[in-house]
Symmetry: C2
Subunit: 398 residues, 2 copies
């Protein structure tokens, strides 16, 4: 699937993924100008040379306009990087390192411009690109109320039942409740981490993150064995916002990180939504602030789907398949063949017919759903009938 | 104060107030065309005549386009009306019957067109017109939750402290909590009833309505000794909406009467606002429905005042007095003279200086506030200083 991209480009991006901090727009600019191998060569070639004198010509400075301290830190990290080891680590975990140009690369991330991730470290059986096409972010406070947790879980279950992928940050509180709600409905969920995908954080969500890596996807822009920092949490939020069609904030105090995600989503032209709560709750105050701006108030999964299902250019699946069937990856085509011609069929039955594991089957079914080949109906799946399903598909495929 | 209007016009409108149901636009049209005495004459003059044959000429029909049954019902009621007795009743209660043309008539009601009330029966010491200039409606469910009651009372207290008049319907639940919150803050409140102002409904709010008639205003378009009906409740809501600068719905189920008030407010160009609540509460579902439309989400009195304080044409008081001091009614001018030149002064002190009762003093202070002569500061009142108070006055005079 990743064949078109030259291996040295992937190695260069793996190195850069350990070299530059998430969202570094200086690095993004040079990466855009010189390409990953060119940027890295320029960085390492000049590493031995002494920094130019303040009065030196522009030719002496390989990255004019970018501070010397920043460049020095890139050099140190790039020199210490071991991309082959990192790529081997992710492969040992059954994962992959996605970069722009890969078929699975979610092109929505290109909207981030120079702040686009250098690459994404991914674990899990599904195709990130197709999943992201029908995904929505549920985010909110770590220290949420029982009301917030209940609502997050409820919305996630509702979205999963309608065939939507729930994206969140795997944190305690709202994030965890959202992932669990999706998993409980046998649905699809993506955790975007602010650390290496082999070093789940928080520790208390070890089990949850492992489960997501089996039934869904665990994604991050930081290389293996990297730990989160406050700025990495904040910058992770732009990936959640860019990956999804819209962001729903469930509980948030004033000045919360979830509001950063929502505002990033708005800047990227994604829908921003908020779930109201009591005005007496400080944990709803941030959401209400958002709702007094341009965000849309939503109270259930139907209202969310009604809003994001209408987003034309990101919704290529509205009227049936967008890909010819023979362009599907063989494993995906195999699951499609196992979907009976008539009547909704449970995932387990399709898995048995296909002879694939239930998590793998579910991942492929969500891909097929994103691509418009199948639709979810209650707890089962059925083939999309283009003539009759258009209005259903528009409402989210229920 | 009511001198410019001829007595026979007031008698005619008193008769019509007992003759036509609230909001009857047929009656409103004829009233507009013939005036109150002309409309009544035409009604009673043709009372003895038999109804015209279906094929009869238009000349035979005094009210072409208005159904015979409706006209017959008007005739019966008009013939039975005793306006002198009704006017004596309201006078005995210390009240008055206001009609268009009176100085105290709130001209905002003219926005109702043919559905404008024929007149308003009023009890209480304040001037309805000036109070209505700085008023906001708080409405909501009768069977509210403790959260709704708490919020209504809290908002009313906050609005009263900022010198705003709280208008509601005196019902159980949200209405009662709103009135009580305003009264508890020593503030101004208006109850708009769907029955005669001498026959308070509900019975359980006898004491509350009596207290409002002493410290605030009790208002209704139905004559003395009239009882509410479901349609009268609904039609009362248009008066609440028209009287105020904006309507805040605090708790409401789907299809609730409070939503009728809010939609009437929107149609009249008034601000509509809603207080969010848990999405798990059916009593917030109607409010959320409203907030998903054009209504503005509000969480405290500041946000309400920020919105309605900006409504230019209804806010003549933003930069100081709009009336020359010598045009004030003598009793009002008397209270103004009792406000000391420096420092905020409590109502009780001003009342003592003026030698008037505290309720009367408070009523006059709110009038003076609406007219821009004084402003509220914490629990006291002070003279408006045009140079320094403009930005305060814009925020509601706190």
């Amino acid at each position: 699937m990743n064949l078109p991209v030259p291996p040295d480009e992937r190695r260069a991006r793996a190195t850069l993924s350990r070299t530059v901090e998430p969202g570094d727009e200086h690095a993004g600019r040079w990466l855009h100008r010189y390409g990953p191998t060119g940027f890295l060569d320029r960085l390492l070639r000049t590493a031995a040379a002494s920094p130019p004198a303040p009065g030196g010509s522009a030719d002496d400075d390989p990255f004019p306009g970018t501070g010397q301290k920043r460049v020095a830190s890139w050099r140190l990290r790039a020199a210490a990087a071991d991309p082959d080891r990192d790529l081997a680590t992710i492969e040992d975990l059954g994962g992959r390192f996605l970069i722009p140009g890969d078929t699975e690369w979610p092109r929505q991330l290109d909207d981030l411009g120079d702040a686009r991730p250098v690459g994404l470290w991914v674990r899990g059986p599904a195709d990130l690109r197709t999943w992201a096409l029908r995904s929505v972010a549920l985010v909110g406070a770590r220290a949420c109320t029982p009301y917030g947790a209940h609502t997050a879980s409820d919305l996630a279950t509702g979205l999963a039942r309608k065939g939507w992928v729930v994206v969140s940050g795997a944190a305690y509180g709202i994030d965890g409740a959202a992932h669990r709600g999706a998993l409980a409905a046998g649905g699809a969920t993506v955790a975007v981490l602010a650390c290496g995908v082999d070093s789940p954080y928080p520790r208390g969500h070890d089990q949850l993150i492992r489960r997501i890596s089996e039934q869904g996807l665990v994604v991050g822009e930081l290389p293996p064995d990297t730990h989160p920092t406050p700025s990495r949490f904040i910058l992770r939020n732009r990936v959640i916002a860019a990956l999804t069609r819209g962001t729903v904030v469930i509980e948030a105090q004033h000045r919360s990180g979830s509001l950063v995600t929502a505002r990033a989503a708005a800047r990227l032209g994604r829908h921003t939504m908020g779930v109201p709560g009591p005005v007496t709750s400080t944990l709803s105050a941030g959401v209400h602030e958002l709702l007094r701006g341009d965000a849309t108030l939503v109270t259930d999964a139907d209202e969310i789907v009604e809003l994001i299902g209408d987003m034309g250019q990101l919704a290529p699946t509205r009227r049936g398949p967008v890909l010819p069937r023979d362009l599907l990856a063989p494993a995906t085509a195999h699951v499609l063949e196992a979907v009976p011609a008539h009547g909704p069929t449970p995932t387990t039955v399709i898995a048995r017919r296909a002879g694939t594991g239930p998590d793998d089957t579910l991942a492929k079914l969500y891909e097929l759903h994103s691509l418009g080949f199948v639709q979810r109906h209650g707890d089962g799946w059925e083939l999309t009938r283009p003539g009759t399903s258009a209005s259903n598909a528009r409402r989210g495929g229920t």
